[in-house]
């Protein structure tokens, strides 16, 4: 694939980066990235990945746009309230960049459907709002060896890690299994400052582009913890856990299953 004159102009500000260049831009245009959840994290990530010219963006989300989403889910507009999130997101992506092919999946991420979707992609961005989905994405990506960016936000805090399955610490190496339903407050209960989604979602998009371009140092084996009130980033080194039930020495999870906990934010996400 060679770049058109218009593409060279559109992407000129990143093509002049020696880490990108023409070949890097061609790589991005040939890449397929799956965004799970067109919400707080998925919105800014999708906008920037579309603008950067990632050629194929898959988006999974079952929900419709709700008025309470608009405070942070910046890909959706007031006039989108009530629409399918995937349709709303796809429309904005196409408007930003017609180079991008959008594939929408209006489904809940579950063991039965997500494996086939994930394996078609080069990288997965976890922008989900519940723990069963986060563990499911971790497990599928491990079995299919698809790298992914995990992240979560709440109140003024955010947390993220990039996982190269089988090579670096996975989510289960740090957090063994989902917390019991109801014990962990959700954004609808505890609140979240909108820009937190932008900060962390954009960091996730940065990781995606770095991975696709093969440049820099990924956030692997490091859990990044962002404290928005103190405006501090902190890093905790983590290593592959030999006792990990998924990627450890004697794994007990050998096939895919849905975790038992109900989505912690069901009411708000329906």
């Amino acid at each position: 694939m060679s770049l058109t004159e218009q593409q060279i102009e559109r992407y000129s500000r990143q093509i002049i980066l020696k880490e990108v260049g023409g070949p890097g831009q061609e790589k991005l245009l040939a890449s397929k990235v799956l965004i799970v959840g067109a919400g707080g994290l998925g919105s800014p990530a999708a906008l920037y990945l579309a603008a950067a010219g990632v050629g194929t963006l898959g988006i999974i989300d079952y929900d419709n746009v709700d008025l309470t989403n608009l405070q942070r889910q910046v890909i959706h507009n007031t006039s989108d309230v009530g629409r399918e999130k995937v349709a709303s997101a796809a429309e904005k992506i196409k408007a930003i960049n017609p180079d991008v092919t959008v594939q929408t999946y209006r489904e809940r991420a579950a063991a039965a459907n997500i494996r086939e979707i994930i394996k078609k992609h080069d990288f997965v961005l976890d922008g989900t709002d519940n723990f069963p989905s986060k563990f499911l994405i971790n497990d599928v990506c491990y079995f299919e060896k698809v790298p992914f960016s995990h992240a979560g936000i709440l109140r003024f805090d955010g947390q993220m890690i990039t996982v190269l399955p089988g090579q670096t610490a996975c989510y289960r190496c740090v957090f063994d299994k989902p917390p019991p339903a109801g014990l962990v407050p959700s954004c609808s209960q505890a609140g979240v400052l909108g820009p937190l989604a932008g900060v962390i979602g954009c960091l996730q998009a940065t990781e995606v582009l770095k991975y696709l371009l093969g440049v820099g140092e990924l956030l692997t084996d490091r859990l990044l913890i962002f404290d928005g009130l103190g405006l501090q980033f902190r890093e905790v080194k983590v290593t592959r856990n030999p006792d990990c039930r998924l990627c450890g020495q004697e794994p007990s999870i050998t096939e895919l299953a849905d975790e038992e906990q109900a989505a912690c934010d069901l009411k708000a996400s329906q």
Binding site: D129, N130, F131, I153, R155, D157, P180, V184
Partner: protein
């Protein structure tokens, strides 16, 4: 005993094990916290039997994303 908990120097009173430390530091839901001691994630079953030493680096790692309230 002086420990480094989540990057901060903390003087503990009487906690000699991880379980006691979780209690002393008033961690609200100890079952919800992953604990890393000097770079190694501990098995939950070993919290009560894992002793602490002067200068140990302890990380309490919380679920977030849908997420957990910070203390």
């Amino acid at each position: 005993m002086k420990l480094i908990i989540n990057g901060k120097d903390v003087e503990t009173d009487e906690a000699h094990t991880v379980t006691e430390l979780l209690k002393e530091q008033k961690v609200k839901w100890p079952d919800m916290v992953s604990v890393e001691l000097n770079g190694t994630i501990l098995k939950r079953e070993t919290f009560a039997s894992t002793g602490l030493n002067e200068g140990d680096k302890v990380e309490f790692l919380y679920f977030m994303g849908g997420g957990r309230e910070s203390d």
